[in-house]
Amino acid sequence: MVKMAKAVLLDLSGTVHVGDHLIPGAKVGIQMLKSHGIPIKYVTNTSKESKSCLRNRLCNAGLEVHENELFTSLTAARNYVESLKLRPLLMLEDEAMKDFEGIQTEDPNSVVVGLSPSNFHYKRLNEAFNLLKNRASLIAINKSRYIKTDDGLSIGTGAFVSTLEFASDKKAHVIGKPSKDFFHLALKELDPKLQPHEALMVGDDVRDDVLGAQQAGLIGALVKTGKYLLGDENKYGEPNYVFENLEEMAQFVLGQEKK
């Protein structure tokens, strides 16, 4: 028997938006939750752009978002690097580098990998590999297999993290979803008193969003947008709920209270 959800964690890419466009039902669903006082937090593995870039993109698409509503794996990665006083080789796009300002990058002793097509070519990967072979540690901002983009499915950060893991025989420390720490840190930031089983995580990636959340003790809901493919709900574990879109999800959450 699943406990009632008192707060909602929302994935962004593929759940709320794809590129510069909001997904149908997303705005309505989010507004429904907010107008009923349900606390929400956007928990995203996005590593191609900084928080401020991301916020601007969503606002331009028509969704009002405050920076403090965003919990990104990029900021969690920066906190991690800082806490361990690491000097990273940053495999990040220019727009994401802002979130790493002030971090020492000379004489790197670690490799930080985000979604960075401009870095995912032979020469640069070779550079990263040689550092790893020389005792550097490997940090993955996320390990997503693929994402939904405007022109279809596109190979994700996780594939290139696998490249480096396979070559160096080292396992990456994964910052973002499906890491348990990531979900717990997001909840703590939203409301330190919240228990995992009181939070509903909603996303389009059945493994990284839904299964990951369930393994961290949260309620996991799959939404059939973004990278969702027919049958995903039966392939990997069992989502607690499956929704067509965020509007349907909000109707469910608000409907719970009436029961």
Binding site: Y122, L125, F129, K133, R145, Y146, L153, S154, S162, F166
Partner: protein
């Protein structure tokens, strides 16, 4: 006193890069000291050699010519590169490949139908490993449900003195993203070693494999019940002396030292 246990060696499966020669980006590379004479000594002793290589940055003919220019002597047919093993699979299973391989190996795939691909063949493509090319291959695997074939699955090799990424890490990327396992044509696949044995006309007990890659060469051979000897040239690093999984039947400084041991039997 170095010793190789087991039956008398009548045939050798020999790796090329890291055993016969060190790789370089320019020219033909450099012959490893003692290797040319070692091959000659095996020939004079009537011990057959087949060259089981994962080399896929050039055609077999071109590789053969490089080795001749360096001073080695062997027939072109004694060289067994992964492209030839892949061709057999492609023909047998009626596959139409999309190639993500080095341009210089493409002539070894001439005549194969590549329209409307139903498989992706990935090799040591080096500079062609770009995000866009990887994404294109991924889409074929995920959306068109193409089969994935990898020409070898080595992690890295040594070139110009530096360790450099081999095809394996890129195959791993495509496997991870598309949720499927590649069929490996080349080392460390046991079928590749068995093809080597068939080509020699000898049993596993009569043969020894020598290479610089503890996993692909030594581990792969041992899985095919062939004795595996590791050399301390090529991509070898000190860590390989104590590999957590693979225990070579013998570790020698170089090919010359192995031939000394074989001829002492």
């Amino acid at each position: 006193m170095l010793e190789l246990k087991g039956g008398k060696v009548k045939g050798v499966l020999c790796d090329i890069t890291g055993v016969l020669k060190e790789s370089a980006t320019t020219a033909d590379g450099v012959a490893i000291q003692g290797s040319i004479e070692a091959i000659e000594r095996l020939r004079k002793a009537g011990i057959q050699v087949k060259y089981v290589t994962n080399e896929c940055q050039c055609t077999r003919k071109s590789l053969h010519q490089k080795l001749l220019r360096l001073g080695f002597s062997m027939s072109e047919e004694s060289i067994m590169p992964p492209a030839f093993a892949a061709r057999e699979v492609i023909n047998k299973e009626n596959l139409r490949p999309h190639f993500l391989v080095h341009d210089n190996v493409l002539p070894d795939f001439e005549g194969i139908d590549t329209d409307d691909p139903n498989c992706v063949v990935v090799g040591d493509a080096v500079e062609k490993f770009t995000y866009d090319n990887m994404n294109h291959a991924f889409r074929l695997l995920k959306e068109k449900k193409c089969k994935l074939i990898s020409l070898g699955k080595g992690k890295y090799y040594r070139e110009d003195g530096q360790l450099t990424l081999d095809v394996g890490p890129f195959t791993a990327a495509l496997e991870f993203a598309s949720d499927q396992n590649a069929m490996v044509c080349g080392k460390p696949d046991p079928l590749f070693f068995q093809a080597g044995l068939m080509s020699l006309g000898l049993t596993a007990e009569e043969v020894v494999m020598v290479g610089d890659d503890i996993v692909s060469d030594v581990g792969g051979a041992q899985k095919a019940n062939i004795r595996g000897v590791l050399v301390r040239t090529g991509k070898f690093t000190a860590q390989d002396e104590n590999h957590p999984v693979v225990k070579p039947d013998l570790i020698v400084d170089n090919l010359k030292q192995l031939v000394d041991v074989i001829l002492q039997q």
